[in-house]
Amino acid sequence: MAKHQNDRLQGTLDLVVLKTLESRGPMNGYAISLHISRISESVLRLQEGSLYPALHRMTHAGWLRSEWGASENGRRARFYAITPAGRRQLAAEEKSWADLTGAVARVLRHA
């Protein structure tokens, strides 16, 4: 899975998903996409379909745990939750994100 860490865009999606699940607890894929677009005020408009490969990948990496449960309208849906490994990953991604944005901000300020 190491190659994905260098992929900034991918990393961003991971970061956002992990953060969402960390702060809001277990959610299904649709709820995650709603949450992301609401919080980012629709700035982060992702193709909703691309969320699922990411969710499965992170599940297999051990960052997420998934199980089937009932959605609010009673239909069967897959719910995702963050694992301890996922929290560690989130911390690492947050730090590298902060480093990156900080560095970019410094460049913009001083260049």
Binding site: N28, G29, Y30, S33, Q47, E48, G49, S50, Y52, P53, H56, R57, H60, G62, W68, S71, N73, R75, R76, A77, R78, T83, P84, A85
Partner: protein, 871 residues
Amino acid sequence: MDRLSNVLRRRDLNPEIDEELQFHVDSRIRDNIAAGMTDDEARRDALERFGSRARAREETRDVELIVMLETTAQDLIYALRGLRKRPAFTLVALLTLTLGIGANAAIFTIVRSVLLRPLPFPQSGDLYAISYARPGAPFWLYPGMSDSNYLALRERNDWFEATATFASAPLTLTGAGDAVRVIGATVTPDFFRVLRVNPIAGASFATGDDQPGRNHLVMLGDSLWRGRFGADPSVVNRTITLDGVAYRVVGVLPPGFSYPANAEVWTPLTVRADPHLTFTRPVIGRLKQGVTRHQAQAAFAALATNLTTDDREKLESVAQVTPLKDAVVGDVRRPLSIFMGAVAFVLLIACANVTNLLLMRAVARRQEIATRLALGAGKGRLVRQLMTETALLSLGGGLAGLFVALVGGHALLSLVPTGILPRDAEILADGWVLAFTLAVAVLTAVVLGLVSAFQATRQDLSGALREGPTAATRQSHRLRHALVVAEMALALVLLVGAGLLVKSFLTLRAVDPGFKPQHVMTMTLDLPAPRYRSAFDLTTFHDRLLASLSPLPDVVSAGAVNWLPLGGMLLRGDIVVEDRRPLPRDYIVTKASISPGYFPAMGIRLLDGRNFTDRDGAKAEGVVVISEQVARLIWPKGDAIGKRISLESNPTPQDWLTIVGIVEDVRQGGLTHNVVPAVYRPYSQVTRPFLLNRMTFVVRTAGDPQKIAPMMRSALRSLDKDLAPQSVATMEEVIAGTIAESQFQTRLLSVFSTLALVLAAIGIYGVLAASVVERRREIGIRMALGADKAAVVGLMMRRTMLLTGIGVILGTAGALAVTKVLAKLLFKVTPTDVATFTIAAGVLVVVAVLAGLLPARQASSVDPLIALRAE
């Protein structure tokens, strides 16, 4: 990778992906409608937001696939690394599995080739052996039919497409390289039609080829054709010389065809109904289309009752239609099944051993596994990793085992004496053997994997983390001890089985044959009838050969006999006493024709009267020497000498022969057979050529009998250069040949039981060695408190003795239950022989103690200070 993923994609890796995606789209549509969109708008918007559904599905599935392949690769690397890190464990486990699986593959190769594979003839399932004979009757040799019955069957048979009968006898081929003995078969012309075997050159025998006058025809086997005739197709219609007679070659048979009895040449057999001389021969037939075995059996049984008018024969003869394969395979099914069972035991012991090793490793890895479980590793993943490891071991063992079976199988077969294993030329490892070996390896992998995975994951997490590796669970101990006990019990069963065979073999070897086989060389000749036609021709030849053998250096005495004791052939018949006193029903004697030198050459003692002399010639009064049993039965008062008997059923005056001497009884038929009463005649007084054309020359020497063999051969050559001896062997070799099968069975089972014993010893050693490591601390405390080395050794040995004791009890019970299957292979030894059981148990105990002593002594050398500080 692309092709692989395409293949896998078709089989839905994860059918739930679709459901998950569908849920998303449906939820969006529902929310859109709730927000006031029309159905169409809601749907379009949802799909647009979602993007390509197909792409989402593909990409999600690719994740699953990559993950699956990556975890498998990881498991493999992890397992390989684990195995490489513990070379001793890996080596012992691999070696154990190789031996266990290899032994199974080797025996299965034989079972598959001999018992399971169809006979190498087209539609061989329709081939049957047809027999009508009295089982156990005096002349009964093998299931077959008498000539006259066969002719009746052939005439009236309505259920067989064709039938044939055959016999086999060695012949001498001359004129194609050196004179050589070849195995010849005489077959009725339909023989090849029954088997549906077609010649690769020339033609088969045609109807009428068995008629006297035009029957000097021969078909050649492929190997003889290649070896002696350079595979030249123009050999067809040429003539070759067999036993001095010219035969015209009509065809060459395909490679691999050597039925019956590994024949190399086939000549036509003439079957005649002759009331005075009847042969019983095997009969084969091919069932007609649509006729079942049961119908044929019923119809043949009905016909058979009309075959004979002799009420006794009718009452006692059994009409049977047996699948030809069963008839060919015959008695070998039982020993092969026993060997298959024995190697299954060896594999079980091997599995128990490797399981034990795995359990010990699991204890050593408890902390590692507990840590990984605590860190969130899935149990399923752990199980997969452990199973990958055992799968690698088992498949490695399976491949190595297959190799061992292929290489060792050849060595094994070369140990098999010729003639005891039917279809030995057909033995070959085929796809079935490969499949069987793989199946055994996979089964082993599953069993081992499940045990080790179960043991590793059921442990109490917090306990393992807190207490560290010394706190091995009781359950693991109990399981390991149970496994060692099971190993010892299984090994004991095999040991007892081998012990019984060894004892039986030794008993057999100790049987007194009635003669003294040491220092005796034999040379057996078949004089070809065309050149040695009359009794005079034959006895003249024998006299001349004996005259040239006697003066050879070191010869003590030289004699001749037509049917050598234990030589595999004998002539038996009834006798009539001059005063016509009644003899027991079915009283038969062996009738041998000998030279005066025979008794001293064989070391058969004269008990009363005189031996034959040169004066007992063709024109002298007819004389016989009888064996002790005949004398005792008919003349219990000891007045046999001088009485007259006849070997003919209806004697004419000149058929009466005077008894001149009494000799010791000899085991003529085999060491396991009872002594057969015998009547000997001087060959010079025998007038029937067929009693004289086969003769064994017996020479007793003062020194090594092997040294005389070349001189005997050259004496023969100088008399008749075209005569090849049928066999040249010391009498001890002849005896060894008769017990070769028993010897082979004994050796094979001994090899397997030794293997089992070694594996069990490794098991005991391993378990005790592990418990020494685990109990280091306890031992250290005991020693610190004053226990001396002897006490520590005693402490450790107590466990060995306890386990061994239980193993012996269970093994004895198991052996009592299964050694019955050996009953038919044993000679004068019961399957529950107390001495054998005792010795086998003793051997097991000694080996167990030796295996246990090593770790026990290690325990006693524990330094208490180091042991206590190590925690």
